[in-house]
């Protein structure tokens, strides 16, 4: 099922990827997201040209696990930085500098701090990539002409066909009822 970093996304089985619905503005997509969320869908997403405040909440997106990853990588960086300097200064290449002990921890704090920040930042960037399945070179939604408007003035909800609650006619009806202007079926591949 795909590469560890999926250049091509994991796709629903079958002919159709799912449904794509366009909404007029941020208000309607906000309430529509709440309706899709409350209807119990799990494999779906929203696409807006700018961040809509609170949309993650309307979608029922759970808190990201990224902070935990950053905490772990940041602390590893800091610990590794301190250990590295301890090993170099005390074991590998002991040098007495200005009469101070070999393990002079205050001198090691700047590097420890910097490595903590560096590893935390790397963990944040690459962790974000991993959780978002990036880089992704292709996505079935790109085959929809209307979808280009997601970078301009279009507000979209896409519901994937492998969602347990997915039913092409009923789901489309739900989206229309929620205020969608257009609903189209997007094919795989």
């Amino acid at each position: 099922m795909g590469l560890p970093i999926p250049l091509i996304p994991q796709l629903p089985e079958g002919k159709n990827f799912g449904l794509l619905a366009r909404f007029e503005n941020a208000q309607t997509i906000y309430t529509a997201c709440e309706k899709v969320r409350d209807a119990g869908y799990t494999k779906w997403d929203s696409h807006t040209p700018f961040p809509v405040h609170g949309l993650d909440h309307a979608m029922g997106v759970k808190a990201s696990k990224l902070p935990w990853l950053v905490l772990i990588t940041g602390l590893s960086g800091a610990t590794g930085g301190m250990l590295l300097q301890w090993w170099v200064s005390v074991h590998a290449y002991p040098l007495v500098i200005s009469g101070k002990p070999l393990f002079s921890w205050p001198a090691f704090v700047p590097v420890t701090f910097e490595l903590g920040v560096l590893f935390g930042a790397l963990g944040a960037v690459f962790g974000m990539f991993a959780f978002n399945q990036l880089p992704m070179l292709f996505h079935p939604l790109f085959s929809s002409k209307a979808f280009a408007r997601a970078t301009d003035d279009g507000f979209f909800i896409s519901i994937e066909s492998w969602d347990p609650k997915y039913d092409e006619t009923q789901t489309a009806a739900l989206l229309r009822e929620a205020g969608a202007v257009d609903v189209e079926v997007v094919e795989n591949g």
């Binding site: 906000y30 909440h57 808190a63 101070k100 205050p106 001198a107």
Partner: protein, 401 residues
């Protein structure tokens, strides 16, 4: 969480009738009088302890006013939207600087006990003679009064315009304050730096650290964000601010508190690091005093309690969004800032190790009462929120991502 149009109740901008908060000025005044009376009674034969304890309390509660003033200035300078609903509380905190003139009197009276190294002009060594154009009692008094006058002027001017806007809704009041916030910040930086030099650093007149002012400033900001968080939690419990100050603003107060905890550690370590590294006796003497006897565990406690514990405790977003965890963290930081002020002042007087006395508590009650009385006075005399600020709606609907 809320979205879209939201109805807020204008009555939430006032303290409820019969709320205990309305008695804060009285409570503060009683504490101040009782604290001062007790301190004064215990002063006999204990003058040095009285004045040094007083100085700790003075520096502590002044830092709240200064922190509040800085927050207000930055809010205007950055034309901030999110913070409008908490700005009035900071304005009230800053306005308390007006009564710090009273708390300054004992500091000036105790000049010969507190700063005898440089006030005793008959016995100055060459270095202190060289510093005497700056370190002398006349300049100390003039500058001290000038700092307090400038802060009072700034704090009251910013607050009065803000309060006036509650009725007139005049946007020009905001514009003028935005315009003067920048120059105000420059004046604030200079005065607070030199105030900390005069009142705390000159306790050891041979020793100097150019970062000292920033250190005091960093601690002040920690303390004021902790204080404001606690006040907001308290006011919400009393049934005010509902719909105005939301969990989103609480999280931001927590974030600022957290940021300044880290900033404080950064500055504190930077000061220590350079002095430790160069290892020049005239510089290390200040830290030597703080690592001698039982001051050593005290210093360790400061480093752990003021940085490591809150660094992990307040790290999570959830900790900042719950009243209980934010409240505990804020209370702890207010305590640790007191420890910090004690650590700045006391090693000069208690060379062999710290020894807590009752005077430490009673002077704290005296100056703290004075502060609470002033804060309560301003709190009860205006709305809790800038009611007609042009950015109020933006602030109310603010959300964290």
């Amino acid at each position: 969480m809320s979205h879209g149009p939201r109805i807020v109740d204008a009555a939430q901008m006032d303290l409820p009738a019969g709320s205990l908060w309305r008695r804060l000025p009285l409570v503060g005044a009683v504490l101040a009088v009782a604290g001062f009376g007790l301190s004064f009674a215990m002063r006999g034969g204990n003058e040095e302890q009285f004045y040094s304890s007083w100085l700790v309390a003075f520096l502590y509660f002044m830092s709240l006013g200064l922190g509040g003033l800085f927050f207000v200035l930055v809010q205007f300078a950055t034309k901030s939207g999110w913070g409008i609903v908490v700005r009035r509380l900071a304005e009230n905190t800053a306005a308390s600087l007006a009564v710090m003139f009273l708390a300054f009197i004992p500091v000036y009276m105790g000049l010969n006990q507190l700063y005898h190294h440089w006030t005793d002009t008959a016995h100055l060594d060459a270095i202190l003679q060289g510093k005497s154009p700056y370190l002398n009692t006349t300049r100390f008094l003039i500058f001290g009064l000038a700092y307090l006058a400038i802060w009072t002027l700034l704090a009251l001017w910013f607050r009065s315009g803000s309060v006036k806007q509650d009725t007139t809704g005049d946007h020009d009041l905001t514009r003028r304050r935005v315009k003067w916030a920048g120059p105000g910040l420059i004046v604030f930086a200079l005065t607070s730096t030199f105030a900390s030099f005069d009142w705390a650093m000159s306790l050891e007149p041979h020793w100097y650290s150019t970062i000292f002012g920033v250190y005091y400033f960093a601690g002040s900001l920690v303390c004021v964000f902790a204080f404001l968080s606690l006040v907001i939690i308290g006011l919400r419990r009393a049934g005010s601010l509902e719909g105005f100050v939301t969990v989103e603003h609480m999280q931001d107060m927590g974030k600022l508190l957290y940021a300044f905890v880290v900033f404080w550690a950064y500055i504190g370590f930077s000061q220590f690091f350079l002095i430790w590294y160069a290892n020049i006796p005239e510089e290390t003497v200040w830290y030597l005093a703080r690592l001698t006897g039982n001051w050593k565990p005290f210093t360790l406690f400061l480093a752990v309690g003021h940085f490591i514990v809150p660094f992990f405790f307040l790290m999570s977003r959830h900790a900042k969004r719950k009243n209980l965890t934010l409240g505990v963290g804020a209370l702890w930081m207010m305590f640790m800032h007191l420890v910090d002020m004690y650590w700045l002042v006391m090693p000069t007087f208690q060379k062999d190790g710290y020894a807590l006395t009752l005077l430490d508590l009673t002077t704290l009650l005296a100056v703290g009462g004075l502060f609470l009385a002033a804060f309560g006075f301003f709190l009860t005399r205006a709305k809790l929120v800038p009611a007609k600020d042009p950015r109020l709606i933006e602030s109310i609907s603010f959300q964290n991502f």
